[in-house]
Symmetry: C2
Subunit: 381 residues, 2 copies
Amino acid sequence: MANAFPENSVGLVRPEVFHFDTPLTLANGRQLAHYDLVVETYGQLNAAKSNGVLICHALSGHHHAAGYHTEEDRKAGWWDHYIGPGKPIDTNRFFVVSLNNLGGCHGSTGPQSINPETGEPWGADFPTLRVRDWVATQHRLMQRLGISQWAAVVGGSLGGMQAMRWSLEYPDCLRHCVVIASAMKLSAQNIAFNETARQAIFSDPDFASGHYLKQGSQPTRGLSVARMIGHITYLSDDGMGKKFGRELRSGSFEQGNEEPVEFQIESYLRHQGNSFSKTFDANTYVLMTRALDYFDLAREYNHDPVAAFRNAKSKFLVISFTSDWRFSPERSREIVNALTRAGRDLAYAEIESPFGHDAFLVPNQPRYEALFRSYMQGISI
Amino acid sequence: MANAFPENSVGLVRPEVFHFDTPLTLANGRQLAHYDLVVETYGQLNAAKSNGVLICHALSGHHHAAGYHTEEDRKAGWWDHYIGPGKPIDTNRFFVVSLNNLGGCHGSTGPQSINPETGEPWGADFPTLRVRDWVATQHRLMQRLGISQWAAVVGGSLGGMQAMRWSLEYPDCLRHCVVIASAMKLSAQNIAFNETARQAIFSDPDFASGHYLKQGSQPTRGLSVARMIGHITYLSDDGMGKKFGRELRSGSFEQGNEEPVEFQIESYLRHQGNSFSKTFDANTYVLMTRALDYFDLAREYNHDPVAAFRNAKSKFLVISFTSDWRFSPERSREIVNALTRAGRDLAYAEIESPFGHDAFLVPNQPRYEALFRSYMQGISI
């Protein structure tokens, strides 16, 4: 059967497992003796090894950012609209590297992996991770690939936090830092949503204190509610209103009619929660939300983001979206202000968009695409 | 021991049960043969019976709006800051009536009551209610009290919806309608939060499809998560940030320190959820959130709020709070626009406040208090 992938797709891609057996000491002092990272790459590394672009994923992301896994696969990677030949992250120019972060549930070592000390799945005993731990493992991956400097490190949301941390921890290892819909730290409200999601998971009896794999259960109900909470915060009030409004899926408000009423938004959200809960690992969800909560760019710089960014050497592109209330444009302007005062070279755009926090993933936003493309085209390789 | 209640308190109050045995046909066609309402009153009904003020409560409210239940009681009713001698709703002038709505869990007939047909608690079989059903029962209560017209019907949030419904259903039975932090209908996002809260309850195995009383369990975990979700939406992002920020309750981010980190906001929210789940009924929570979702002021007026308000005869006071994102000032301005175009007499104030949706309950907001007091003082009795 003929390959019917779109012309501007990276096409068929195959994830690769990289094994690391140099022990890794984590931010909290614990040590991992060895670990695997699952990685996809798109495009070709040039001879100078100067065209590498690292993609950092967000809370529920993974390594499969672009292309298809089989000839029959019709569901492209999560950022396929922005990675490919001629797309903003142009694989005709760049060698794009995308991984599932440590602690993930898509093949990299995480809570579902076997704890070598017990022979059982790690479950809730998997170490708590910080963004800096991911950046450390990504740095090792870079070295393994023979790359000494990324053309760019790119990420949205939690991915943007990794990109910023790269610019501080390994300032010589990236020329550009692209930070989309992100923040230097979470607000109390952000943490509150994450904690409520975690409590939904913890309170599911099938969670079994995080050792559900051992007992053969899955906390799908708790994880589903957690995802519903998250999902609301990814969309904008207006966007949700325009898409669903108060449309009914079933039932009637006619007086005297006892048929139960269900709004479209209710069944949509439940569907989102249910699907997610069958494919994602609850311990990973807890781990990723904690990494989000714990991230505080300037904590080790006396809480001064200007002092923090004085350590950076890369150029920056910062993008925010008007209707994003999870990480609002105000959060991006804080990044921009700190970068400016630290004397960094930067571009900033606040994109008019109705898609809320999810906007960084949504296609067909001409201004976002044009700006993103134009910035990436300007990166010399 | 001497009575040490504050001077401007209504002091000791005693709830009274009113039994109604005229069958009530509900909006959905079902019928209740008889029911009880628990009621508190503050102040004295004047000879002309013209000074009655009805208080309509919000989602988790009840009849105990002011004063104390025992001499030792140090926790006043939920709106004590605004009801009492010399307070905005001045009990020296007004006879204030506050009830627990039908379907509630504080003594009025609801899911915890015995279903006369089965001899068992109603549980999830208690009829789904609409705001108009509450207003119908409140109208019967008014008649029972010998009142033919309220000086004012007053409510915040879901209570404001009841006040507006009063103005349409019984236009001759109120002279003033006070609508605080409310909306003519919920947005898709509002419904999404409510549905997520319900799913948290439904997914608790102890909920037992709503028949937990029969099986002797309580879905406290699910109700606790539901309350956490709600609570986040009652506070503003800024307010939460100012009160809790990223302060830690325990643990440390020091590198190499394995002690788990807990933010203040996390333990605060969990505490709110846990306390609530021990005193509130899960079926009532489901019922109240559905009534919120279902409310649509103008549904029976061809979705034209101007046409709806043409049926009203009362004067209106509408109040919103700048940081309220659950029912934002925009929602109140929609009410005001419709009232204006319908030719109604109205006053509107958008109060600068950091307290989010909860602002209508929070004391020591001089502009809110002054405006509320001044409007209520202007009501002739």
